[in-house]
């Protein structure tokens, strides 16, 4: 039994919001309410569920974008939820996040080389721009883009290309864990297939672990080793991919699977 890269134990993230702006009766929203899972090195775990189930909050909590209420998260045995921002900084290189919206997640004022180069300098992986540009060129080729695009700005690229740049920005740091939150949801199907293939190939080649957050069960089946189904802040079922898709145990998982519209080819279901 290998040691998990990431172990999440009974994670809770609650938010206190006011029911109305004036009559401040506070309400407690239990976005994540006792979630536990392990991700082994080189494995992909998907969190799947409908909007509001808390799947994105799990990803945001693990990257310190939201604050955990209780519970523990161990990265290589180290509890990083309790770390101060400065203590957490070295881990930021190792835990990287790919966001959903390729139009909002790249700084429009920066050239691609600045967007990809900045994290290299921040994490001390490069000393000079020559070094950085060499790395950026290699990375851009890996994600299927011409290295010359590093001199251009985000507005010159389509959604699919921007998502490739977003992936390059993450992979160039050689992280151990990538958290991808709806990374292909905003793309057209023909482009989504290209980006999914790319993500899967990069994952297999580099052996990075991935927490893949998505509402699309087809996409989840394609990329995962393990699947966790979330509903109302809790994981209702977790297991190997085949088990979840072919022998779902929980009623909610079955309902989700039954709800998906399928292309019927002839008499049989594809």
């Amino acid at each position: 039994m290998t040691e998990p890269l990431l172990r999440v134990i009974d994670l809770k993230t609650h938010f206190r919001i006011k029911a109305s702006w004036m009559f401040g009766e506070k309400q407690l929203i239990k976005a994540v309410d006792g979630v536990s899972f392990d991700i082994a090195p080189g494995e992909v775990l998907s969190l799947v569920g409908e909007s509001g189930c808390g799947k994105s909050t799990v990803g945001r909590t693990l990257t310190h974008l939201d604050q955990a209420t209780s519970g523990r998260a161990l990265f290589e045995g180290q509890d990083f939820l309790v770390m101060s921002p400065i203590e957490f900084r070295p881990l930021r290189r190792e835990i990287q996040m790919i966001f959903q919206d390729p139009f909002a997640s790249l700084n429009p004022r920066l050239k691609i080389e600045q967007t990809l180069g900045e994290p290299l300098f921040i994490h001390g992986l490069c000393k000079t721009w020559d070094e950085a540009r060499a790395k950026i060129a290699v990375m851009l080729e890996t994600v299927g883009m011409d290295p010359l695009v590093m001199k251009r700005h985000p507005h010159e690229f389509s959604g699919g290309q921007r998502q490739r740049i977003g992936i390059a920005r993450v992979m160039i740091l050689k992280p151990k864990l990538v958290i991808a939150d709806e990374a292909v949801s905003a793309l057209d199907v023909s482009i989504q297939a290209q980006v999914l293939n790319l993500l899967k190939k990069l994952q297999q080649d580099s052996g990075v672990s991935m927490l893949f957050i998505s509402h699309d069960l087809g996409v989840v089946r394609h990329i995962s080793d393990q699947v966790a189904v979330m509903h109302e802040g809790k994981i209702v079922e977790i297991g190997r991919k085949r088990q979840i898709f072919e022998a779902p145990q929980h009623e909610y998982t079955r309902k989700l699977l039954e709800s998906i519209p399928r292309v019927k080819i002839g008499k049989e279901v594809a």
Binding site: Q161, V189, I191, A193, H222, L256, S259, R262, V263
Partner: protein
């Protein structure tokens, strides 16, 4: 004669002094009790086609440059504004994609439904309100007599989309145009909304044009399908024939691009390249830069629509050579 007949529809967008064609030679028809699906990726012209039918392409930037649209025998493109207003929202209605933005946030949903009813039918406010409650219960909103006084922000996305459907159905339209009606919804809610639309169709015999990028949704709900790519219908057939005997490489590519939930594949067969932008001038078949079957002919000559099988038309020089 079919209820809705679209013939050789042409739409162009004016940018930087140039007229760029965005919909070219699109033809289809829909009959009572029938559902036509229009499928394609962003920028293929499917939504513009819907807006053209509803007469919502105003102004000088986007306009219809050719073809005609006949609804119930009337030529929709030559109607006066007044005549058009009496049909839209009444005998023809549309459901938009965004349930979050297509309801007015400052009016109660009941008032928004009542406004449409009283625009087209002689009813007192009280009668129209009763009708609104009835419609809300028809689309299965719980406690309709209370929810009629709710504001849009007090409802979930699925409920708002149902309110949109209720509003569209308020005058018993003969034709319903639904532009990505479930794209913003969760799968379980999507299923409910699609079931609801199918149920209403069997009860009222409405004709439906369903626009979607989701082949699964199209396959489960439509009688026939038109696949669009960059402004043209590249393949059209009855749903069961389209997916069984598909003849256009783009349709094949779309189908192969979808990761399915019922089986495992190692790699998706993605279509290479990307959807060309409007500004790019393309000669020949618009799909040729991404097509595996491409020849010189494809780059120079626009393929004409041919009848591949009875009731199954396709625009490709090599239809039938697509791998099954």
């Amino acid at each position: 004669m079919a209820l809705l007949e679209v013939q050789d529809l042409e739409i162009a967008v004016r940018t930087k002094g140039k007229l760029l064609p965005v919909v070219q030679g699109v033809s289809f028809d829909v009959d009572d009790n029938e559902t036509l699906g229009i499928v394609g990726e962003s920028g293929c012209g499917k939504s513009l086609t819907a807006l053209a039918i509803m007469g919502l392409l105003g102004g000088t930037t986007v306009r219809i440059t050719g073809g005609n649209i006949r609804f119930d025998g009337m030529d929709l493109l030559t109607l006066s504004d007044g005549e058009r207003r009496s049909i839209m929202g009444n005998r023809m209605a549309m459901i938009f994609q965004e349930p979050m933005t297509s309801l007015n946030p400052v009016y109660r949903i009941g008032d928004q439904i009542i406004e449409n009813i009283r625009q087209h039918q002689k009813m007192t406010n009280a009668q129209a309100r009763d009708r609104a409650v009835e419609l809300l219960s028809l689309v299965r909103i719980p406690n309709p007599s209370e929810r009629v006084d709710s504001f849009p922000h007090q409802m979930s996305g699925g409920q708002r989309q149902r309110v949109m459907i209720a509003m569209a159905l308020s005058c018993d339209p003969k034709l319903l145009i639904a532009d990505e009606p479930t794209t913003a919804l969760d799968v379980t809610v999507q299923k409910e909304v699609l079931d609801l639309m199918a149920d209403l169709q069997t009860r009222m015999g409405t004709a439906i044009v369903l626009i979607s990028h989701d082949l699964g949704v199209i396959s489960e709900t439509c009688d026939k399908v038109a696949v669009m790519y960059r402004g043209r219908v590249v393949e059209a057939a009855a749903t069961e024939n389209l997916f069984t005997e598909l003849a256009h490489p783009y349709t094949r590519g779309l189908l192969n691009s979808i990761p399915v939930v019922d089986s495992d594949v190692d790699w998706l067969e993605a279509i290479p390249g990307r959807v060309p932008t409007l500004e790019e001038e393309l000669t020949g078949c618009a799909f040729h830069p991404r097509c595996a079957l491409v020849t010189k002919l494809c780059a120079t000559t626009v393929p004409q629509e041919i009848e591949y099988k009875p009731g199954h038309s396709v625009r490709c020089h090599f239809s039938g050579k697509v791998a099954p």
